[in-house]
């Protein structure tokens, strides 16, 4: 039986599709979003404005987009993969010339009705195009060097463009996401071993090049590495973020100081308290209980998504679900590791909770793709 045959026989149609959505994931996403709204209200001094109301509006738009994307059959999105990838590359190039600058980097593209961060989009479109590629590629070719070149190029292009902005954090996440896709597709272990040793060598070279004529990174990036390794070395300068963030987290204790009672955020000791560092406020006001709750919600999303991926017999769908899951995982894992002082400070938001349009919309659209793959999966035949 061909793919086409079961497609027509077993896929739900019309509004019936709503019943086939992966509802646990949707509910968990809403729960995370709700936590975000609560925290944004608290940070604004128990006020709906300026952040919570805007965020709620965006969440509804994103939610509607997610459902709409989920309703569209996955084979349509599959056929759009390459186009989407090329579009996002084009936007990344555009941002290079017309992007607006913020926080020392050109990341945003003003489309009039929305400011877009093409690097966020690129994460998803890269996953789509890699899923498409490995779905198309016959199994016996997967680990052959000539068939490795194409996916590497697909990963390198957005990586390079994002690095130009410069946004090291997102660029590394793109590489990680792409690498995980190649790993899932079944590329031989040896390649990853080689990449790992190459990466370690690269890091060593980067550190070694410091202060030499051929220094590879900007000074500010080296300083971030320094302060990551020892935040106390510069408590008022670059290490300020990490130190204050750890203080906020730690002072929360078991149950936290209560809604709106976090002194670290209320008195402005925390930087970026409504965006990248929002987790510190959550942990300060709701303590270990609050922090671990959010972590559990995230973990459940990942778990349900992996189950959905394993149960999906369609290779493109399965790869896409894994890819979206990994992207989501990398968001919150890197963000939390960062505020806990386990990773350097990179501009990665806490998914669904941090204030910010682009990442929220892109993420919900990605979960829409995941749902579409879930709704339109091959059922009962094979």
């Amino acid at each position: 039986m061909t793919y086409l045959e079961y497609k027509i026989r077993a896929v739900p149609r019309g509004f019936r599709k709503l019943f086939y959505l992966n509802w646990p994931i949707i509910l968990l996403l809403c729960a995370a979003g709700a936590i975000g709204i609560i925290m944004l209200t608290s940070i604004a001094g128990n006020s709906w404005y300026p952040w919570a109301s805007a965020q709620l509006k965006r969440f509804f738009i994103g939610f509607a987009l997610m459902i709409s994307v989920a309703m569209v059959p996955i084979w349509f999105w599959k056929s759009m993969s390459v186009l989407a990838y090329i579009t996002s590359l084009g936007l990344l190039v555009l941002v290079e010339f017309f992007g607006s600058t913020g926080m020392g980097a050109q990341r945003w593209l003003d489309l009039g009705f929305i400011t877009l961060q093409p690097s966020e989009m690129a994460k998803i479109t890269l996953i789509m195009v890699l899923a498409f590629y490995y779905d198309w590629l016959p199994d016996q070719h997967i680990s052959k060097p000539q068939w490795i070149i194409a996916p590497l190029a697909l990963i390198f292009l957005p990586f390079f463009l994002v690095l130009q902005q410069p946004d090291l954090g997102t660029a590394l996440l793109i590489v990680l996401g792409g690498g995980v896709m190649m790993f899932l597709a079944g590329v031989h272990w040896g390649y990853f071993g080689a990449a790992l040793s190459f990466g370690v060598g690269g890091i060593f070279t980067i550190l070694y090049s410091r202060g030499k004529d051929w220094q590879l990174l900007n000074d500010y990036q080296y300083r971030r590495i320094d302060t990551f390794l020892d935040p106390s070395s510069d408590p008022l300068g670059a290490g300020y973020h990490i130190t204050q963030s750890k203080i906020a987290l730690g002072s929360g204790g078991w149950t936290g100081r209560g809604f709106g009672q976090g002194t670290q955020s209320r008195l402005n000791f925390l930087p970026e308290k409504h965006t990248d560092f929002i987790f510190t406020t959550l942990a300060e006001e709701f303590g270990f209980v609050g922090g671990i709750s959010l972590l559990i919600i995230y973990s459940l999303i990942v778990a349900f998504a992996i189950i959905a991926a394993v149960r999906n017999k369609d290779r493109f769908s399965s790869l896409l679900i894994y890819g979206v899951t990994v992207t989501f995982f990398l968001y919150f894992a890197v963000n939390m590791a960062m505020v806990m002082g386990l990773a350097p400070v990179v501009g990665v938001p806490l998914p669904l909770v941090s204030y910010g349009g682009s990442s929220l919309l892109v993420l919900l659209v990605a979960f829409g793709l995941l749902q579409s793959a879930h709704v339109h999966k091959p059922r009962g035949v094979i």
Partner: protein, 648 residues
């Protein structure tokens, strides 16, 4: 077709396997995050809670009220006054220049203040108040209060500032306070956080400096919650500090003011002591200055004027300056000779005006000499040659010993600044300081209080007091601290000098003041109950050459001020029942009998009568002049008292 499905099955299995490996890695990472969260939030929570509180809680010190200083009768000498200052907050004011301009229409704002304010507001956070002017009067405050709507961001703050209501009278005794300098910080108490309070003031000289720790008190603490920029969000807690201790001095303000006025514009100083217990009743140096000017921050021109004045108003001449004691030192020589039993009171020498000692002539101040002299006469008429003779027999060692017994050459411990030790020379001193052997001529010079001998007015007063009471009195300036007595008058022992010898000297001094031929006869008191016993001194600050002696010694009045003799006088009174001892030094005032003795008499009588003495105690021929002077000083003192009352 089946082939394709087969392959799909195989790749599906591989994908699932890899997917589960990935899931495992993710689970491990999430577990790591959870453990980290537990470590920060549960295990190290209290530590981070503390750090968070350190972040948000700012401890501000509240300056304690400085202790006050009183005189022996409880009259205030140094106190704290509610002072007003105006500050401006930039973020409320908006345009600082505009605000300053509107303000300058209401009160005086100097160009210096204006530029300082503009500079400070640019530098500090916009919500921090910057002081525009300090020490505003009530009237100025009222004017500002009436115009508050036009002065956004301007507010009036209250504080305490030091006030010295007696103005110049106590400048050298109590001194003044001023802002903390680097020097103050260096002096050991660097760690006292109080010193870092902006506008905190510490004692700079005199009692204020000596008793700094006693007067200062301890700081109160105010806990405030601040945000990351340092802006105060709310007050959390406030503990008041402990005010400083009050100090009562032994001085009598009325007498002190009188002495200050009596010394007038002369470069002079006077000390009045209770001769039984050593309490200093008055200790003044003139000219003086207004310590209040220093509290406010004295202007450069005012300070330069004080510094460059030939009469040195900033110097506290009573304790800080040492003069050759001149003939007043003859008391020491005489007592040393008596103690050594070298002479009896009846032994006499003949004075013919000069004496040759190792090929050098030593002259008597009286050309032609005094004729036959015994000890009493030589003291009362102040014959030099008699003491030259004595010196040769007594020797410097005994003179030195006696001087120390009488309180010369000792650094007396009273809470004033820069107290001098003076100098009572000895063989060892000359050898180690001048690298020369002691010569007989040095002894001869020392015997009449010239040469190396140097004494401060305070030391001379102590000598007079010891002579009068026969007790080993030490000068006392601090009566009590916070009502607790600071010294014990019962612990004063008798002087280690034969009483009968002291009596001889006292009698000789009585004659100096009351015998027609005595050097201080001109400044006698005619009421028996108040008669003084004193000794004049005239100490040279120049050498008189032989040629000058031939042509007649130049009169003091014809010399430039700086080269005139110092006039000294020490006395105690009443002679029958000594109560007080007085020392007066008039710098370059000429003969002690003419310059210092009249002042000493007025001061002595003022102290004995505790106010204006009746004219009847003065000899008839002096009464007109005394009356005139009493009226003049009365006016000055009345005016001063009025100012005082205004300030209190």
């Amino acid at each position: 077709m089946a082939d394709r499905i087969q392959l799909n099955q195989k790749s599906y299995a591989k994908l699932s396997r890899r997917g589960l490996i990935l899931g495992g890695l993710q689970t491990a990472f999430i577990a790591g995050l959870a453990f980290r969260m537990r470590k920060l939030q549960v295990e190290e929570a209290s530590e981070y809670r503390l750090l968070a509180d350190e972040n948000r809680i700012n401890i501000r010190l509240i300056a304690p009220a400085r202790g006050e200083v009183y005189d022996r009768n409880g009259k205030i000498i140094a106190r704290n006054e509610q002072s007003f200052r105006i500050t401006v907050v930039k973020e409320d004011a908006g345009n600082i220049e505009q605000t300053l301009y509107s303000l300058s229409n209401l009160i005086k704002i100097s160009q210096r203040d204006a530029t300082r304010v503009i500079k400070e507001t640019k530098r500090s956070a916009p919500f921090l108040p910057v002081t525009i002017r300090d020490q505003l009067s009530f009237e100025e405050i009222a004017r500002i209060a009436a115009n508050t709507p036009n002065l956004p961001g301007v507010s009036v703050e209250q504080g305490l500032s030091r006030v010295y209501p007696s103005f110049e009278s106590y400048a050298h005794v109590v001194g003044y306070v001023g802002p903390v300098s680097d020097n103050d910080l260096k002096r050991g108490n660097k760690n006292n956080p109080l010193l870092k309070i902006p506008r905190f003031q510490v004692g700079k000289v005199g009692v204020e400096k000596h008793f700094e720790d006693t007067l200062r008190g301890s700081a109160g603490v105010m806990k405030v919650e601040v945000n990351a920029l340092g802006r105060v969000m709310r007050n959390l807690d406030r503990t008041e500090g402990k005010p400083g201790n009050n100090i009562q001095l032994t001085v009598d303000t009325e007498l002190q003011s009188y002495i200050q006025a009596r010394l007038g514009s002369e470069s002079a100083s006077a000390v009045v002591m209770n001769c039984k217990n050593g309490e200093i009743l008055g200790i003044a140096s003139s000219p003086s200055y207004d310590p209040n000017k220093f509290v406010r921050g004295i202007s450069y021109s005012d300070f330069n004027e004080l510094r460059d004045n030939e009469f040195r108003p900033l110097a506290s001449k009573t304790v800080q300056d040492a003069y050759p004691p001149g003939s007043t030192f003859k008391i020491v020589t005489a007592l040393a000779a008596l103690e050594a039993k070298i002479i009896g009171p009846k032994d006499s020498f003949s004075c013919n005006g000069k004496m040759e000692v190792s090929n050098r002539f030593f002259h008597c101040w009286k050309k032609g000499g005094h004729g036959e002299m015994d000890l009493a006469k030589s003291l009362s008429e102040s014959c030099d040659v008699y003491f030259y003779e004595l010196a040769l027999k007594v020797g410097i060692d005994r003179i030195n010993e006696m001087a120390t017994k009488l309180g010369l050459g000792i650094k007396h411990d009273i809470p004033m600044s820069a107290i001098t030790k003076g100098l009572v020379p000895s063989r060892e001193w000359k050898l180690s300081n001048r690298n020369q052997e002691w010569l007989v001529g040095d002894t001869v010079n020392a015997a009449i209080g010239q040469g190396y001998v140097l004494s401060s007015p305070l030391q001379l007063a102590v000598m007079a007091a010891r002579l009068a009471s026969g007790r080993n009195v030490k000068p006392i300036l601090t009566k009590s601290i916070n009502g607790k007595n600071f010294y014990n008058s019962k612990s004063i022992e008798n002087l280690d000098i034969e009483k009968s010898y002291l009596k001889i000297i006292r009698k000789a001094l009585f004659e100096a003041s009351n015998d027609r031929r005595g050097t201080a006869y001109g400044s006698r008191v005619i009421d028996d109950a108040y008669r003084m016993a004193g000794k004049t001194g005239t100490s040279q600050v120049r050498n008189i050459t032989d040629a000058e002696r031939e042509n007649g010694v130049t009169k003091n009045e014809d010399l430039p001020w700086k080269r005139r003799d110092h006039g000294l006088f020490i006395n105690f009174a009443p002679y029958n029942k000594p109560k007080i001892a007085v020392a007066v030094v008039v710098e370059h005032g000429g003969a002690g009998s003419k310059s210092a003795a009249p002042i000493a008499r007025d001061i002595t009588l003022q102290a004995l009568f505790k106010g204006k003495p009746p004219l009847e105690v003065y000899p008839a021929k002096d009464r007109m002049a005394v009356l005139e002077q009493q009226n003049k000083l009365g006016k000055v003192l009345k005016e001063l008292e009025m100012f005082r009352k205004n300030k209190v």
